[in-house]
Structure formats: structure tokens, C-alpha cells
Assembly symmetry: C2
Homo-oligomer: 434 residues x 2
Amino acid sequence: MKQIGVGILGFGIVGAGVADGLLKNRELMAQRLGVDIVLKKIADLDIETDRGIEIDSALLTTDAKSVLADPEIHIVVESIGGTGIAKTFVLEAFAAGKSVVTANKKLLAEYGDEIFSAADANGVDIYFGASVGGGIPIVRVLREGLAGNAIVSMHGILNGTCNYILTRMENEGLPFDEILADAQVAGYAEAEPSLDVDGFDTAHKAAILASLAYGFHVPMDKLLIEGIRNLSGDDVKYAAEFGYRIKLLAVIMGKGNEVEVRVHPTLVPFDHMLASVNNVFNAVMVKGDLSDDTLYYGRGAGREPTASTVIGDVGDIAKNITAGSARYERGINIANDGKMVMRDTDEIISRYYLRLMVADKAGSLGIMTNILGRHDVSILRATQKEHGCDDTIADYVPVVMLTHEAKEADINQAMKEIYEAGVLCEQPVKLRMI
Amino acid sequence: MKQIGVGILGFGIVGAGVADGLLKNRELMAQRLGVDIVLKKIADLDIETDRGIEIDSALLTTDAKSVLADPEIHIVVESIGGTGIAKTFVLEAFAAGKSVVTANKKLLAEYGDEIFSAADANGVDIYFGASVGGGIPIVRVLREGLAGNAIVSMHGILNGTCNYILTRMENEGLPFDEILADAQVAGYAEAEPSLDVDGFDTAHKAAILASLAYGFHVPMDKLLIEGIRNLSGDDVKYAAEFGYRIKLLAVIMGKGNEVEVRVHPTLVPFDHMLASVNNVFNAVMVKGDLSDDTLYYGRGAGREPTASTVIGDVGDIAKNITAGSARYERGINIANDGKMVMRDTDEIISRYYLRLMVADKAGSLGIMTNILGRHDVSILRATQKEHGCDDTIADYVPVVMLTHEAKEADINQAMKEIYEAGVLCEQPVKLRMI
């Protein structure tokens, strides 16, 4: 059986997971793939710290160049992270005729073009399955399994930290700040949580998914991004009363040459598959023109799940090499660059959840409904609550509404006019629905 | 751009869906895959009937041999079905150096060995992604995405007809027979429904999944197969009261060199992802040793979803050919034939739902619980209902129990002894839990 050598650059969480998985399941993979994948070297500046896995110390080196120069290493796993030395090593690996597997979202987002072209130029493969969805093979599904589909839409829960916080907010009825603090202690949230809770991590992943689906560079500055930091426990509760759960979703929709990519807290009906995705789990629902709705669910992060996807990619490249050639996986296809444009966020069509703290006096509701009507916002359901949750706002009551489909610009204008009409004690809350 | 020609054998529902998809999304696929996939010919004895798709009549032929002889056709889609002429044509296609894509479960189940060896011998690919799960790329996921995982377990809803019937039984509180009759009228169930409702279709698919996961021929006669035909509406109702939904599951579990493959109605807790899979949708939850739980959901049948997966396979082969060689996809790896054995069904460990129609008199419960205890069956929850649902059995009341984990043989023996003790008016009902 042909042997294919693997070198790992970066012996952190992901690198250790990949090393452990490759060693543990080597025989199994050989049976399945018909090729013997052999871990040859692991390079890291620190080769002393115990990573909690059993590893032959002869495999460890502090000299990354020795990995890149080893003729018996055909595939390099980049698990250093960042865009500094990681980028240099990836390009050097290509130049040395080695294929690369990486989960480095940031590297791809910032230098994807350069990386993909360099792989092409050197006739080697670049796989990046674990950059979105951790243990969920969603990148592979989009590139291969659904390759025959025009993608109608994708709805994804792509950040485990946010989903964990939202699940606990709903189950325990506690406010965001309290759960976040708890999650930080438990290690489910970073000390600096902004990347997660403000939606940026989800947005980066959404951009990769949208690029894969529609074949163009998604300009990050055109995304609508709203995180969960300002989400009120009241809204979680009222949404549940209407039969909805609030999830931070990436919403990606293509129509003609326009693509919408947005990230925001979203009301999902209880009986929707995405509503069952709880705690740190991730999932992506993909609607293809042929496949119709499909959904992919799993752990979006973590040592072993990430290693699962990285090793799947390694296996693919090993098969490619065994078959006699790289398949020149072309990274993200950008054939539609210049053709696809981002839809203006004003043009978004959605159903909305609105909560307005309304003056508890005759005429208030009339003013509101008139303004909504004038802007073509039609109400599906509405409830006026007996009193506000904050007892200090005694003369105001929350009015909660679900709307039929409306245009974002119209909703925004209506909210502005209602606020300016002086019947509210605070800015209205607007959430989108699936 | 390199052109790869496709010929379709069999212009039925699947063949028409594949033709339509290949034509509609040709440009899109070319962009994504870097290869132009061209539909060259469609062969069927009947080329007159309108298939509801637009097709250039010059593509149609009644001469299948002309497809097999066409040097511009590199990939043959077999959508004839059955094991007669379909098998002959597949082998002839291989001999002519063409790769094959098929969704023909029966052909693979009965002649897999011969088919896979012939593909190998001719250096061509055989892909069969749509044989399980329709539009869900589960075969690809197991072969590639999760290739680095030892598979701990799989739980699948693999038959749309059964899931449709079960969903309606629960939602509408109607008995099996009534829903089945309705489903037959609506076209969701066959006139001869046995293949679906008695679990055989699910079992065939389970055997393919188990073979993929554990690398051996799964002997169909060693599977435990129970369908949904005898499922009572009472049990659907009582299960719901305990917080469970009943689904027909394929359960596949490997441990050491033993594999369990069973198909039966199963109680799934409401908050489990599989409980949200309703109507004709299918899903498979796969637990890998690295990935942990992952789930794949979509339409398990239908023209377009099946075409989606077939075309994904065509795309893969087209990339393989373009890269200069077939990758010799080895069908189902059977390296563990002779090593893996099926676990004896007596040895199954599960939690159980039991319903016993018990004589409404002092001492009955004591007799039952004594027997259960003697066989190491420990009760998790139990309810005695006020009266039986069938009012004619006036002196008997239903006792419904959930057990802790127990061994199938023990449960069976306990049920037998309880029945023989004369405290029941009918055989006990035993369902397994997830």
C-alpha cells in the first residue's frame, strides 16, 4: 500500500487533535482509503508542554523548515493560526510541491487569492474544510455533494458561544450579561467576547459559505452584522410565547445576480430543525434548487471535531496523490467576481418581530398602526402586555408584534416615525424572523 | 475547458431529474468544478412519453448500446433499476472504460461484490451516493468527510413513507391503517406498502451504511427488523405523554469486532434532533470518535433530490477524469469481512418502553415487578392508566413503563413470564428507546 506522509505545523489544540486522530485511526483509514497515511513530523517552537496525547518524541521538532524540506512529507497541516508565519509556511509548502490542509479562516479571508493561486501554480491541493463548522463537513458538501445545485439559500448557526448563551438565556430566563460571565468562567466564551457575541466570527464563516455557493469574493464591509449583546431577556420570553426561539443566524440568499449575506438574532419557529440546535452545536440548512432543504449539524469547534474534518481533508488529498495527480482543488471559485453583487441591506425582505414600549393611553396604538400601514407593514400577530418588565416605566406597556413580509427600509422608516411621534419611551426593538 | 460526456440509461423519474439538472446547471457546475459536463445521450425503450422536462429529442435513443459505445461518453448514469438489464449494462459500461453512477440499492445489495470488482478491474469509478438518503449526501460524508473517524453509532430515519405515517399518527391521533390508506391515495405510500412499512427498505439502507462504516458485508438475515404496521395509536399517545416521539430508526453500533444493525420503531425524546425530522424527510445522526454527534437531514427520495446526489457523484468522477485518472473508488471496503461479526440480537442493550394490559386487581403489579426485578430490568418511570383504550377490556388497565438499560434477552424472558403468569389480557407491547 502506498504511504503518504503528513507533517503538522503548530502543535496547539488543533495540531494535537490531528496528530492523535491520525495515529489512532491510521489502520482504519488505510482500509477505507487504500492509502497508508503516516504522521512524519510535528513542528512547534514548544515541544515540551504536555498536550495530553501520547506521541513519540522523535516526531517532534522545533524546526518547521525540516517539515517543509522532508521529501517523505506530501501533505502539510497548517495549525499555527494567524496570518504571519502561517502564511509564509503555507506558500513554502506549495513551492516544495506539498499540498496543504488548514482551518485558518483568517488566512483564507485575508489572503485567499494569493493562497489559492499559489496552490494552482504549483499543482497542489489546498483544503480548508474545518474553517467553517468545525466537525461538520459543510465545505465538502457545498463543493462536492451539492455541486449540481444552484443554492437558493443557507441559514446557519455558526458560532457555538452565541448558541450556548442563547440556549441558556431561553432555558434559564437570565439576562445576556449574566450568562456571558458564566460562560467565560466555564471556558465557553473568551475574555474578549466581541468576535463571537457581536457576530463577526459568524460573519467570516458566512462569507466563506456565500463565496462557495455563489462563486465570488464576498466583501465583508457589505454584510449586515448584528450580534446578540443587546438582546433582551424579554424578547427571548415574548418570542417563546409566540412559538419562536431566538438564534444568531447567518442568512445567505441568492437571487439573480444579487446575494444577501446577513448575520443577526433571528426568530425561528419551534418546529424548525434549526430551533432544535442547542448549546454549543452548530448547523447549516442549505436549500438547493434540486436537493430542496438539507441540514448539516455537529460541533462547530473543539479539538476532536476540528481534527475530524482536517483529517477528512488529508484523506482526500492522499487519495488524489495516490491516483497520480492533485485534483487542483481550486479554493473558492471566483468565476462570478464582478457579476454577483451584494444586495443593499435596505432591500432585505423579511418578517419582523417588533417590541415597542408604548404610552399607556388612548390613541397610542392608533398612531402606531397608522404609521405601519403607511409603510406597507402589515401585522400578523400582536399582543399588548399588561405592564413593562421594568417596573420603573410605569406608564408604558410593551406591545409585541409579528409582521408579514416587509422591506427593511420600510420597517426602519416606520420605526423612526413611531419613535418621533412621541408615543414610545425608548427605541423600538426590531428582530428578523426566518 | 475539458468536456466530459454523460449518458443516461433509463429515462424514468430519476433519469429525467438527472437530465434536467445537468442541463439546467451545466454552466454553474463548469464554474465550480472546472470541467464542462455535457449530457450526450439518454436511452430508454420509451422515448415518446412526456417526462415533464424540456429535452432536445436528438439526445434520445432507444439503443442503450449506442450509449455504451459512444467514445464521447465517459460517465454512465444507470437509472433503470432492478438487477436484470441494469446489471448487464453497468458491467458493459465498465468494460468500455466508463465510470458509473447509480442509485440502485438492490443491485448493490445483491451484486455489490461483482460490480465493485469489475469497476476496479477496469480502472473506473462506481459511485452510489443516492442509494441511501436520496438528496442527503450521507454516503459521501461517510466515505470522505468522516473517513478519519471510527464510527461509534448511527441512528437514521431512512424511509419517508414511514416517517410521514408516524408524523400524521402523532399529529392527528389516527390509527396506522387509516393514515396508510390516505398516504396511498396521496401517493406517499405504495399500493403494496410492505417494503416500506415493514422496515425492509430501511434495513437495506442500514446495511449499506453499516458496510461503509465498518468495512464488511452486512448479512441481511442477521438484522433485527420490525416495521410500524403493528404500532398502536395508544403507544404513540403514551410515548408523547412521557416526552417521546416514535420514529422508525435504523440503529447501527459498532463495539470491538461486533456490530449491531437493527430497524424498529423507537422512542426519541422531543428535544433530540431526530425528533424534529417530520413528514417525508430523512436524517442520519452519525457519532464519530472524533467528530462526536453530527446529523445530516434532507429529502430521502424524489426526482430532484435524488438527481442532486447523482449529479454530485457525476461531478466527482468528472473531476477525477480531468485530473488524469479515476480514483478507483472502491465501492464498499470489505477489509473487515470475516473480522466483524453481527452481535446476537439477544445481546442488544437498550432502554425499553413497555405497555402491559394488566388485570385490574390486587397483586397484579406485584407479580409483574417481581418478574422484572428477577431479570434485572429496572423501571425508570411507570404509569397506570385509568382504563384501557379498548373499552371492551373492562377489567384490564394499561400499565406503561420506561426501563433503564436492559438486555433484550432479559426483557423478552420477563415479558414471557409475565404473560404466562396470567395477569395480562394480551401480549405485552415492547418498544425500544434511543
